[in-house]
Chain length 206, copies 2
């Protein structure tokens, strides 16, 4: 079996899980910490070389403080768990902001634990604008400034990947895949995609 070298983990659904289980939204996060360790160990066993966990984004920190406190703590706890393993931990995100937890500042340079092993990256107070050094006043960093944010991407041919399609404009896009090949295009595909899009909860990262 071909093992992906680097796996990205987007651990979404904590608040919906809390609601489903009769808890307050913010209580979802602490119920998702151990799962990160499980995922880490499974990937270690499989021989994955690098893992990136989507912790929280700069946009997420605009949520009510009871939530931001909870998910920040959950991220710190997750890092604490992983540092007891064989791992190389790196935390990426805007550490100059007050939303970045002090406890994780030491990881903004990769740190080694145990027998080293898997590289584990946590995105903490991350944003693609921070990552790409995009400044409000200098939008000329991208060539396609005349192309706006993409709301819905429809891909024909069954592949579930962007293949480099407008990476900046696609950061919040909903992604619909049509299994039929493009030459078998039918107008129904567009309708199905939009029907699906209507069921999505569009948050733009908020």
């Amino acid at each position: 079996m071909k093992i992906p070298k680097h796996i990205g983990i987007i651990p979404d659904g904590n608040r919906r899980w809390a609601k489903k289980n009769g808890l307050e939204k913010h209580e979802g996060y602490k119920n998702g910490i151990n799962q990160g360790l499980c995922a880490f160990r499974e990937c270690q066993k499989l021989g994955v070389e690098e893992l990136t966990f989507y912790g929280f984004t700069a946009d997420n920190t605009k949520r009510p403080s009871i939530q931001t406190t909870s998910f920040t703590k959950a991220c710190i706890d997750a890092v604490e768990l992983i540092k007891k393993e064989d791992a190389q931990i790196y935390v990426a995100g805007n550490s100059l902001s007050k939303m970045f937890p002090d406890e994780l500042k030491e990881y903004t340079k990769r740190k080694f634990f145990g027998k080293r092993g898997i590289k584990v990256n946590f995105l903490i107070n991350y944003s693609w604008e921070w990552d790409l050094n995009i400044k409000e006043e200098n939008k000329r960093i991208i060539n396609t400034i005349d192309i706006s944010r993409v709301d819905l991407i429809i891909r024909w041919g069954g592949m579930r990947r962007l293949s480099g399609f407008l990476p900046i404009q696609s950061v919040y896009s909903d992604f619909y895949v049509v299994d039929e090949f493009w030459p078998d295009y039918k107008n129904e595909h567009i309708y199905e995609a939009i029907k699906w899009y209507n069921k999505q909860d569009i948050t733009l990262g908020g």
Copy 2:
């Protein structure tokens, strides 16, 4: 019904369609031109404001010339069809390269046709490196240079979007969605994702 303002179209599967129909691979492209016009007209009818078609990438031009000639011609023909409609056409891509067709150079500034109407963008000889002005010798443009390309992204919670997750490292990632919420994580999810990943044809844009 909520209509997405901007829809991205990734018209993939032309070569597989040709094979399935007993044709040579390169013959798939010319059988996908009219479908672009159909998609345009449906979106126009629905009130979509902007459409972006993924024409071809700089990576694609490394394919055999019988294919590059065919898909380049198909893109030129598609633009020719759309310019007979009410549309604002813009072609984005590296027009300094010899792989960029002369016929489309005039569209590297947006041109208006008929009663204007939908913005239609074609990505032609496009690459995300070109778009982001990333130069081989200057990789410092991104902050997370220590995080490598992501092979597989697994998202829990059912949403099909990246939400800003490492846009540069994710450009060629395969994207697997687990419907269960993160706190309901099971090790099987990882195995299912990797099983699915093994069925994907990894091309890295080639």
